[in-house]
Each structure stands twice: as C-alpha cells, then as structure tokens.
Symmetry: C2
Subunit: 633 residues, 2 copies
C-alpha cells in the first residue's frame, strides 16, 4: 500500500471509529469520549504500522502496544476491532456492560490488550518490562506505550524513564496524547508541568508532532524502528477532536453525549445513527462464561528444582533463599525459560549476589524505585520469564500495594520474595517493620502467601516454586533462626520433606491445646511448647506456612483440642489469628481461640528485645499459655 492509500484508509477508519466511540459511550451512559477522540488517530496509525497478527494475537515477536491511560478504552476497543481483533458491533453494544469483556478500563481479557490499566502512571513501567523481556528472550520487537498528559504528573513515570535509560531499552517508544486537558481543566492550571523538559532531564529524546496528522505520525513511527535510544513522541492533539462542539472541552473527558448530542455529532461526521440497533443488541446480550481462564496467562515451563540442601546450624532464611535461587539459576542456565531477579538497592540484604554471579545478565538493579520495579517485574513475568523480585517487606508490599493489586488483576506470574518481615528486621524501627503482610496479601484474590519456618523449609519451597505459575509472596525475617527439629532431634524439614502449598505441619503432638504459629516466632513458640512438655503439659504445635490456605482437616485437628492459640509477629487484628477465626466460621467449627500478636507499632531494638517487649519471647508465650490453661480448667 502506498502512503497515500494508507492515509485514505486511516481517514475512513477514523470516521467510523469516532462514530463508534461516541455511540458506545452514549449507549452506556458513561465512559471517556474526549481522550478517545484525541488519541484515536495515533492508535489507528499505530496498528497500521506495527508488526502484529489479529489471527495470532500471541505472536511471540509481535510489537506490543501498552495503553497506560486505560480510560480511553472506547478508542482502544475500536482500533482493535477495525484491525481484525473484534466485532465492532459487539464492542459498541457491550461496552461497560456487566458480564462483557469490554470494561470501562482496558483489560488483558480483551484480545489485543497487552496490559490492564486504569489507575494511571503504571503503563510505562509495564512497557519497560516488555521491552526488557525482548532482550532477555532474544526475540526482537518494539514496544509502544500510549499515555495521557494528565498522568504525566504521576511520579512513577520518572522512575520508569530512568530504568529505560539505564538499561538502554531502545525498542521502547512512549507516545503522549498531549491534548492539554484533564478532568479538572487545563493541565497547565491543574498542575503546571514542563513534560518535555521532564523527559529530557531523564535522558530521553523527545519529538513533537501533530497527533492528528497521519503522514507525520507515520514518518515519526518509521524512526522508531532500529533506533538506539528510548523515544518519547509528544503528540499535540485536541480533546474531542472531530466534533466541533466537543473540541477542547474538558467536560468530555469523562462524560458521554446525550442522545440529541450524539445525533448532532454523527450528523457532523456524516454517519448514520444506529443507536436503537445497539440498544436492542445490548438488551439481548447474555453474559457467557467466555472469558479466558487463568490458565491462558499461566507461565508454562519445565524448570528443574535441583537437589534440596540441608541446613543443620542456625541460618537466616534470607541466605537459604539466596543459596537456593543461585543454585536454581545454575542448574537451569540452559533452560528455555529464563529465571530473572530484580532488586531495589538491597541486594546485599536480600542475598541475591550469588544469583547475579551465576547469571549476571538475568539480574536487574532497579534502584530505589519500588513502584516501577513492581510493575516492571509483573510485566516480565507475563513474558515466559520466571521473575523474582526480592526486597524488604515494607517496600515489596506496603509501598507498592496498588501496583501489586494491578499485577494480580493482570494475572502475572510474579514471585515476590521479601525479607525483613515481622518484627525481625534488625533495629530499623517501626517504619521498616512489615507487620501487616498477611493482612495485605489476603486482600488480593490471586496472590499466594508462603512463610517458611526455617532455612530447610525455605530451601524446599523455593525449589518447589521454581516452575509454578501465578503470583506468590514469600516472607521471612532477618535473623538467623534455629533449625526446626523433630522430637528425635533430627531436622523436621529434612531431605524427605516436600513442600505442599496449604499443608500445615504438626511439629509436636499433644491434646491439651493447639498452638498455631507462623513466621519467626516459631522458634520461641517451639521452646515454650517443649518446656511445657517437660512440665507435663502436652500441646499440639502446628506451623502454618500458608495462612491463606488453611484447610479444614487441620482446623478439625486443632478444634479437637478445644483450645487454640495463634502466635505471630503480625498485627493482631489482621493476621493469622483473625484468619483462623474466619476459617472456623467458614467451616462451621467452634473452639476457644486466644490470639497472641502485635498490638501497636513496634519500637527499635534487637529482635529478642522486641519479642520480649510484646510478649512473643519463649518465656512470655509459655506463661500466657499456662495462664489460659488454668482459666480453661
């Protein structure tokens, strides 16, 4: 096709697209027509230009389009429909309809959408992840990230820019839809910003173009092939472009036309008004269970888990994690599935130096930029890469709560390995104590949570995890911990032990009561239970490594003793104890439950001092249990 033929086609598509955008938003009675109209010419041109195949949307070397401002879903769905991915009538009639895939903000469930967005500022990080995955997987393609101009205010974008420059992600191109309006009005009055200067200050090249001039867009896109720098295209556009009464009106950012206005707009566009047809289709729509299942997104791999390593002396779980991942990297060096570790300036603390030594090109230092690293790691994990992000608890969960939530919504395959959780963080004090990790992860439907008891269980679970799809958080403290032993003095998590997600471990048998523990306090709880045994009080001790998946059988075993203690160095309101209470209710089981946990933000001190201060040392646990047993009798 010649350029002029192409431009004729784009002009025709654009008229149809603008009609579709306006019709679907009016039909739904909501949505974001303004930005959809300003960006549609960019999107349509992009899909004419990039390497892709609607018949094979998972083509490995396809160019990726990430739309960061997910509210312009009408434009995205329309562009995809006009390029063979969807039926345009279905898009229009089902837009924002419960049970349909055409949600208000774009979702990966829609064929052709690479990344679910909606909360602003995250798209460039995802795009950087895809761009990096191209290099890791040795599959050349280009990545285009379309962004809004209002969202340039989000700080995370600057983090993504820096990462892209550091790693020379030259296959990455950002396109900013510069219509100069956001919900509250002109971007220069809502929040004055020199967008071009911001990007240039981080080392990006910036080209300004007319975002409605197909020839100019096309020739700029030509430059994006085989360039040796990340590029930002600042595309000057007009909100509401194409319908005079909508142009440059901020109110159309997030408001649909009424039916009379739609009639007027379609008349101007020279298109017939089919609203009534679409109303009928909408009324007739039956939600079908046609959504892609989770399996579609699951990492497929056959990574080897290697040989377990037995720890016999007190060791920190961090080192066991570091040793295991280094070994796994070594034995899977030639596996077709790359293993990647990302870091945020804490490599020495989270013990991933050995991994980097084994496979230096698979280790990525993301700097003190947790928001970018969370999203980037999530995106990597969707590209056939087994991705581990290792950080401190408060940085990998608390600081990036929403980024991880969006990863979960994106069906990523991310493994988040967090040290310094609970009170056991050294003397860093309350800002660094992640005592809400269970409370956080239980808010997300897709994430699993594993809390190993000792270095042997850490080793085994990391090896188990190496070929698993889906999202997992693994948490551990900082200190060296005792090896958990059986009654006979041999390691409980020995070489015959196999990790099984959700299975609780009965470390000691007893019938007087049940003690259920998670996290670093297991050492003190075990001491307390063994001491009480010497005093003739036999307690059942259960280690809970997967508090989000406690099964009914374990609960019954605990309930049978009539009294349950939960022990954790976690906020007492939202951790293990509250989950046990919740699960007992769900299973219609009943037993007295005594929760032992953390009742306020901690202080700064050694772990031993802190545990003592909050009643989690062995002596306090023992005394508390004895007291409650007296109360019970």
């Amino acid at each position: 096709m010649t350029d002029s033929e192409l431009i004729s086609r784009l002009q025709e598509q654009a008229i149809i697209a603008r009609s579709a955008i306006l019709t679907m938003t009016t039909l739904a009675g909501s949505g974001h027509p303004g930005g959809s109209m300003s960006s549609i010419d960019l999107l349509l041109t992009l899909y004419q230009f990039i390497h892709h195949n609607p018949q094979n949307p998972d083509l490995p070397d396809r160019d990726r389009v990430v739309v960061s401002n997910g509210h312009i879903s009408p434009a995205v769905y329309t562009a995809l429909a006009l390029n063979g991915y969807h039926n345009l009538d279905e898009v229009i009639s089902q837009f924002r309809l419960s049970g349909s895939i055409y949600e208000g903000h774009i979702e990966r469930d829609v064929k052709g959408v690479e990344w679910s967005t909606g909360n602003l500022g995250q798209g460039l990080s995802a795009g950087a992840g895809f761009a990096l995955a191209s290099r890791i997987n040795n599959i050349p393609y280009n990545v285009y990230v379309l962004m809004g101009d209002g969202e340039q205010q989000k700080g995370q974008i600057s983090e993504a820019r820096r990462f892209a420059i550091k790693y020379q992600l030259n296959n990455l191109t950002a396109i900013v839809d510069y219509n100069e309006l956001q919900i509250s009005g002109n971007i220069h009055s809502v929040m004055p910003q020199n967008i071009k200067a911001n990007w240039e200050s981080d080392g990006w090249k910036v080209i300004e173009i007319d975002g409605h001039n197909y020839q100019e867009i096309l020739s700029t896109l030509q430059m994006t092939r085989d360039k040796d720098y990340p590029l930002m295209i600042l595309a000057h556009t007009v909100m509401g472009k194409g319908v005079p009464f909508m142009e440059n009106q901020a109110k159309y950012h997030g408001a649909a036309l009424n039916e009379a206005q739609l009639e007027e707009a379609l008349h101007y566009l020279g298109q017939s008004n089919r609203l009534e047809d679409y109303k009928m289709m909408r009324a007739e729509f039956k939600p079908v269970k046609q959504k892609p299942t989770k399996d579609k997104y699951a990492l497929q791999c056959n990574l080897k888990s290697g040989n377990p390593m037995l720890y016999e002396k007190p060791t920190d779980n961090r080192s066991a994690w570091g040793n295991a991942i280094a070994d796994l990297a070594e034995i899977n060096k030639n596996n077709s599935t790359p293993i990647v570790v990302t870091d945020c300036d804490l490599q020495s603390s989270v013990k991933t130096a050995a991994f980097e030594k084994v496979t230096p090109d698979r280790f990525f230092q993301g700097g003190i930029m947790e928001h970018n690293t969370a999203v980037l790691s999530g995106a990597l994990s969707t590209c056939g890469i087994q991705t581990f992000w290792s950080d401190f608890g408060v940085f990998g969960l608390d600081e990036v709560y929403n980024q991880q939530r969006l990863n979960d919504i994106n069906h990523t395959n991310l493994k988040v390995v967090l040290t310094h959780t609970g009170l056991d963080v050294g003397e860093d004090g309350k800002t660094h104590q992640c005592i809400d990790y269970i409370g956080i992860v239980r808010n997300w439907y897709g994430f699993h949570l594993i809390i190993p008891a000792d270095p042997n269980q850490t080793d085994r679970l990391i090896r188990w995890l190496i070929d698993k799809p889906g999202n997992y958080v693994v948490t551990m403290g900082r200190s060296a911990v005792l090896i958990i032993l059986k009654d006979d003095g041999t390691p409980f998590y020995d070489l015959n032990y196999a990790f099984d997600y959700g299975k609780c471990d009965i470390l000691r048998k007893g019938d007087k009561a049940t003690v259920m523990v998670t996290g670093t306090p297991i050492g003190n709880a075990l001491k307390a239970v063994d001491t009480l045994k010497e005093e003739g009080i036999n307690l059942q001790l259960i280690y809970v490594s997967c508090p989000l998946a406690i099964n009914r059988d374990t609960l019954i075993q605990a309930v049978n003793t009539g009294l349950i203690f939960s022990i954790e160095d976690h906020n007492i309101h939202s951790g293990l104890g509250s989950i046990i209470a919740d699960r007992l209710a769900e299973e219609n089981l009943s037993a007295r439950l005594i929760k032992i946990g953390v009742k306020n933000y901690g202080s700064s001190g050694t772990s031993n001092d802190l545990y003592k201060a909050v009643g989690l040392d062995a002596e306090s646990i023992k005394e508390r249990i004895k007291q409650e047993l007296i109360n019970k009798d």
Copy 2:
C-alpha cells in the same frame, strides 16, 4: 557571633558529632554512619542558622527541619543534642535500644524531629505541607528538607516538586546530601540520574555548594531568607567524611565500625574513646513510659458542627459529604482552626466544589499525584489545620497505602473522605473498585473507619468529625441511595440522631437471625429483611458504620439470635464478616456466621448489575437467608 566565631564553633561541634555518630553505631552494632558523616556539617550549620528554641520546640514560628532520609538518625540526634534538645550521652547510649526513643529511623517522639521518616522519598512532600501551613496559618517561617541522593530516584519527589512550584512555596528549601553513594554502590551506576536537571525541569532553582564548607553553607542559607522561589541546594559531600578510611566507601552506608575501627577513627578525630562508659549506661537503661502520649499530637480545636441537614429523597452520600463540608466551612470561616480540603483531579466526582466556592484559599488541587497529596495532607493536619483529603477509594487507600501507614506512625490528624468504594463505582471496572478498604484500614493501629449508611448519617458523621483529632477514613459509594427509614416510615437517621463512633444501629428488630451490614448493600439488605418480614420471618438488622470498633454488647445482641449474616460489597476474606468472626473469638462468643461478600475481582457494569452478579441484590440476599434458615432448622 561573627562568622569566624561561628565557624570555629561548628568545627568543634563537628568533631564531637562525628565521634558521637561513630560511637553510637558501634555500640548498637548497626546503623548508618556513612551518610551521617556526610550530612553532619549541613545539619550543624542549619541548626546554627535557623530560628528555633530547644526550650520551646513547639514554637509556632520556628523554622522546620525535615530529614527525609531518616536513616541518618545518628547525625540528627547528635545535631539536636548539641543544640540543646537532648543529652548527648543518653543519645549515644540508647541509640537503637528497645524502649528508647532514639530509634533506627527518626521519629517525632524525639524532641526537635518534625516528621518521622525511614521509607524514602516522602520528606519533601511533608516539607511542602509545612511550607503551605505557614501560609494558611499566616505564621511566617522557613522549611528545610534534607534529603539523600539515592532517594532522588523515588518518583514521589517529582510530585512534591511540582506541587511546590504550583503553589509558590517560596519558604521551602531542599538540601540534597550529594555523596554519590548508596547501599549498592555509586549512584551513577546503580541508577544513572541527572539530579540537577530533574529539579530544574520542574522549575526549581538549584545551587551547588561544598557541603563541608561552613562558610559556603552559611552564605547559601542566607539566600534562603525571604526568597521568592523554592530552592534546592545540591551539596557535594563525601560519605564517611572526616575519617580517611571511611571516606567514599559505600559499605559504610549501613554498617557500623567494629571496636578496633572505632578506636582508630576516634584517634584520628583526636577524641577519647568512651565506648566502655556507654556500654555501662546502655546496660543500665530502663525503658520508661516517657514517650509522649498521643494527646501531644492531637489537634486542638473548637470548630462548630452546625445544624444537621435532613435528606428525605434518595441522594448520593458524596453530595451529603460535599454539602456538609461546605456548610462547615461557611460557619467556621472565622474560626482560628482552618478547615482545608485537598484533591487529586477529582473534585467534580468527590463533590468538593461547593467547599472551594465558600473558602477558595482553603482548597488545594494536588493534581494526579496521590503519593504527594497523602503525605502533604498528613503534614498539614499536624499544623493545627483540620485537613480533609477527598478522593476515590483506590487512590486514597490502595495507591498510597504506605504513605497513610507513615501518616499513622506520625500521629497525624488526617480525615480521608473516599467516594467510589465497594462495587458502587459506576462502570469503571475492577481497577477502580475499592473492595479492600476495610482490610486495608484494619492493618493500621491509629486509623478509624466510618462507613455511613445514607446521606443523613453522612451529614451527621461529618459534622461530628469536624472537631475530632486523629486519623479517620470515611468511605462511601457513588450512587444515590435510599433514605434509611424506621418501621414507621420516617428517617432512621433523623434530626435527633447523633453519630457515636463504634455504635451499631439496630434498624429492624427480630429474633430469627441477625443481619449485619456495612456499606452500600444496606439498601438491598433492608429490602430483603422487610420482604422476609412480610413473609413472617423476623430478622434483626444491624447497620455497622464502624466495623473496626464493634462492641461486645452489639455482638451479644447478634449472638442471641443464634445465626448471623454479614453483608458487604467487600472482599469476603478481609472485611466485615472476617472482623465479626475475629471479634466473636476475642469476646469468647459463639454463633453460626454466614458471610456474604465479594469472592473475586469485579467486572464493569452498573451497580445494580454488579450486585446481582455477586449475589448482593435484594432478591439474592433474601433467598440466601431463607436457604440458610432452612438449613438451620
């Protein structure tokens, strides 16, 4: 004092300070000496220069010093001690000791510390808040924010820069300790960044100085008085400055000297080694309950609550909030306590336009920069300003989880009013559905949570809240909701109703079972209960507006019916239902509990459609209750 006398004093102080820094970190066996040594000259000079009074640390017009990189606590504590705030021997001997106030990262509990930090990138936002408070309170002072260079990687800093430029916070000065090292090594290799260009691209003036040259620091600080621009001082420093073997060594970022190294360092500094004395003091330290109580930080005010407004027609709670806060602004216009509202480009959705109209100088548009707005609003609320931040649920909680956690640790007085919580967010889809708000807030010890049932309760609780200290989250959906009526058809939350935090409301009496509801589903639950009553099934219906504070009496009333249903448009694992289970366990009460809630991320659709899809419409609720009653009998 002449400049040369001052410089002599600083030179003397600096020797003592460096000895103190090294001694306390060696004594504690941990801490961050490197950055403490590079920044100590800046800090000491600053405290000689600023307007402050150690005898009156709360002096209203004192200049504020915010230290964003809270890990340089040894330098901060030492500078404060040398300036009359603390006993230096106590600082050294108690550093990082459990029960002491001298934590690993600086805390407001330490006299002279304005803001607790530790998680990087938040200090400039707090400083911007203090600078803005100066204008709002009409008390002139300057704000100095000391920052690390590694933390410049954090995106939130760019947000704070833009806010400061927009609002011309000319009393704000940032000082960057540019030692060019972070934990993992040289900042230019960990994450290449042009810090100066970044700040200039956001419109800041930047001056480069030698951060160890007292004369240069002093003369630059002179420029910060009465300037008409925000200024960043890029202070070139040397990590470990003052002890040759420590200089420019990244390993001393977060590692203390051993005792032999300390001896060598003190010898070089010409100071005697008193480590053994300090060991004795440390051993003798007894934690005393000397920490300031929460009351110290509580907002003191006598704002008027005005006259309640009665809603008799379906209205969205958002409008009731907007109307109430506008009325409160009007009647308290001349009160000595300012009422402030902050926004993130959602004013039209969160209904604060009327407030801005009444008091335009008390409304601050923070743009799409939630991280900055969360911290800035928290800081404002510590300055005698009753501060409301209004946003969507996912932006005011999920996106800023860690910022709110740090606000809580900072004992702020923030009121976070969030619309678009639960499934009732319009058709925006899962990224915008805040169905984890209870699960989030229960992780924080200081925050209260209020979920009004209808516009009348919204009006009353906002009026109740207007003079309250402490942190509160108020959440509501988007839609117009029915007015909750008594059996006699008059409004339940009538003009005689007074909001009382923690009190549950019995909307219907009955003995067959108890239905406990929170949030927007109350409308459907009420319909279900009233319909069942017509069928001869009498249920007790309890509205839970404060799920984090359900009292024992209410639980007993519920338990007495033998069967409890919890109903919420919240993640079923972490919301009201799980709290009821938890509270029953805590109170040693027992009853069958059936939880009705949201079991996966939602879809995009009208609230009615979504409620139907997840079984939260009136019909589904009714049928579910009937089924369980049959099972029970």
